[in-house]
């Protein structure tokens, strides 16, 4: 069992959150699939979002990001 006061898993000690760890593991697994399943799976990873920073109460031009996983 983990010792009391353990720093936790190595990725936590390196500053990664569980969610990023889990997503990285999942994307590694997806990259190793055989062909028809692989393209379906990589479709699942696609993200599309747009971010706009607000300065002085006004939004700046939004940054639109699209593509597979990653940060």
């Amino acid at each position: 069992m983990a010792s009391a006061g353990a720093a936790g898993p190595f990725w936590r000690a390196a500053g990664m959150t569980y969610v990023s760890y889990s997503n990285k593991c999942a994307s590694m697994v997806r990259n190793c699939l055989k062909e028809p399943h692989r393209s379906e799976a990589l479709d699942r990873e696609k993200v599309h979002f747009s971010i706009s920073k607000w300065i002085d109460g006004k939004p700046e031009k939004p940054l639109i990001r699209e593509g597979t996983g990653g940060d």
């Binding site: 593991c25 590694m28 190793c32 699939l33 399943h37």
Partner: protein, 207 residues
Amino acid sequence: MFRQASRLLSRSIAHQQPTKTQVAARAFSTDVSATPTEDSPFAQSWKKVIPHIDAPKTPSSYMKTRPPTASAIPTKLTVNFVLPYASQLSEKEVDMIIVPATTGQMGVLPGHVPTIAELKPGVMTVHEGTDVSKYFVSSGFAFIHANSVADVIAVEAVPVDHLDSNLVQKGLAEFTQKLGSASTDLEKAEAQIGVDVYSAMNSALTG
């Protein structure tokens, strides 16, 4: 907040009419009354402060109470194996499952002690009679409840025969090399994760 809005608005317009008839005529009234029937401490303190508005429902009033644990151990384990995009097994009755917990392969039989286990990348096997199905799980959690229901949740889980061994070997070599050359903590952690995942996939394919 907005659920009450139509009722409050109609009440202010036709304030002579009692609110109960307005509730019956409302298009999107909930099927259960807004005030919880049993006088929980929340409902009581609400009534003291705002007696004329029904208390809102709290999240716990939407939840079903925990089912009682049967005194006899059930003969089968009920498994719910879910992923974010699909539910692979839903209320399936099986004899045993083996999950890859961080503390090692954990076998779950009916009557298992309630446990929450974090899973590491590895193979989950489901035993039903003589059939064994194997899934490679990327990471996740397994919740085993007192009534022999096991919920296994994972971000990605694939049957082991969907894995391509060439890609696994290449990835393992790549991440082992990255582990050697990593400098920052974060890079080291990522490379270590890669090595863990790929070697687990490798042993799933060969083992």
